[in-house]
Amino acid sequence: MTDIAATAPVIVGRSLWGDAWARLKANRAAMISLYYLVFIAIISVFGPWFVPHQYTTIYGDYVRTPPSLTAYPKADMIETALNDAVKRMRVEIKEWKQDGERVTVTVTSTKPIDDRNIRYLDRSDAFDNTKIESKSPDGLEVTMSTSVKQQYFLFGTDNTGRDLLSRTLMAGRISLAIGLLAGVVAVAIGVIYGAAAGFAGGKVDEVMMRIVDVLYSLPFIFFVIMLVVFFGRNFVLMFLAVGAVLWLDMARIVRGQALSIRRQEYVQAAEAMGVGQRGILLRHVIPNLLGPVVIYMTLLVPQVIILESFLSFLGLGVQEPMTSWGVLISVGAKNIGTANWLLLFPAFFLVSTLFALNFVGDGLRDALDPKDR
């Protein structure tokens, strides 16, 4: 019984961030979205290495193949692929039969058939591992056997026969990377500029904020198009520039926060106790600024992703063979009549990611804003 006193719980206060995390964890929509975002990020970053197809590989025999959970080639496609390959050999099919994995085909011609012709079968995307089984003495008739190359196109293929699954994942990599890159640039510039204005106060603040107002009043799309015109097709540079345009909101938010935090009683108390500028900045201002900055950043990333997709949609963003969700959706939009999976898969990835980012942003706002409880 004497143990109880020894194990008396030590009361640990919850920090601002611990508190926020606990509140975020209680928000089911935000947590599911967070897990979903992590999932999308992982499959986009690592997925392309595990998908058996390269995102640039062109499968000439599988142009606009619909998505399917079973392996290609389908039974009826074998004959087409065989006819195609044999036509390239410039010989005639006499007979063919399928026996499990192997296909045996007998071809005839009016001229002796060269052994090297079997490469036409290997070159086809449907066959592999071709061997000559037998040859007639005059060389006018050859029997070859080849194995059917099984391939999966879970999301189907695009107009040039590239696997849409690997392209969608690759696109996710690019879209997410661009969103983060431009988001970080915008936040960095905005925080520094806003904090500087908020701290300097007075005339300097006045002038700095007037500059923001002027930039604000120019049509945003005009800016972006001008950036495209300047930076051409270099999308990394362009999105650094886009980030450099999007900092205006951030600067305003940070300035407002910095101004109001400086007037709080706890800052005055710290000043009265003799804490220096540096101490106030590190201990009070920056931790209190982080909340709105984090919230704004989660809302900025989807904005950038939409902007990137919008530019790519117009053909001004990411260029082929590199791809992004915007590029894929624009191709899909042009082919909805014949191949709607080209639109549906990338659109689902983009929209679900945007939803998740929004829910996480809302969740963070609820978790970090102590006034809104």
Binding site: S217, L218, P219, I221, F222, I225, M226, V228, V229, F230, P302, I306, S309, F310, F313, L314, L316, G326, I329, S330, G332, A333, I336, G337, N340, L343, A347, L350, V351, L354, F355, N358
Partner: protein, 307 residues
Amino acid sequence: MLRYVFRRLLTAIPTLFVIVTMAFFLMRVAPGGPFNQERGLSPEIKANLEAQFGLNDPLWLQYVHYLGNLLRGNFGPSYNMPDFTVTELFAKGLPISVQLGASALILALLLGSVLGTIAALNQNKLGDYTVIALATAGSTIPTFVIAPVIQLLFGLTWKLLPIGGWGDGAFINKVGPVLTLALPQIAIVARLMRGSMIESLRSHHIRTARALGLSDWSVVVKHALRGAVLPIVSFTGPAAAALLTGSVIVETIFSIPGVGRYFVDAALNRDYTLVMGTVVVIAIFTIVFNLIVDVMYAVVDPRVRYD
């Protein structure tokens, strides 16, 4: 009030001037010119063309010329569509874009207000959650996804609407583009309306109205709505300017010959006059609609006075 409108119109002139000047010089700093195309003109022809349009003059002189022409209402010829002047291009495309934009705006204001009010009256109930879910979807899904999905569902699967084209303004051709333009706006209006309606329903004069025994309908429509509509009014200004000047995405996907594409195409082709024309038109729309909104404010809310 009239004096206020007049003063606002006067202050619009320097604003326009700054925008025109910035756009003019920004455009000229960009590398390339209207006649440097991939197919390449022979140097003599290019020189002649540039001389004809005064592109060899010093930049300041071109600027002065442009301003002079602009003051006389002359936007100049389009460099890339040599058969048309910029004015003719706008006369052709603007009515189309305005029709679509205005229909979308009206639809968004009506439907958005109704949905927002329904949500506010059923706060934290099923109706509210449904509207919030719809609004989240509407503001999250980008236009370039909505438009092809509408084409796919209504055009191809159910064959209710044409897939695209203007069809000389036939009603059926406008449904798809107007829906696409309106959906994100409906979402914004519904959200604004929900927030301001909840606030408005909590205010004292509503409590008084209820205490006096007015019917629910009368309380909401006659009293709460008037206070709640203010945020919608201020939203309408910029939204109207953006919608009426055309959408690149919607006009491209539905193949509509509006003015939405002018800006992007012109900037990429360095069609200086057309870029400037677009900038001026957008700026004028923005200024005018912001003014209308401010006047509307005073009409809706008698507490607002302009002297």
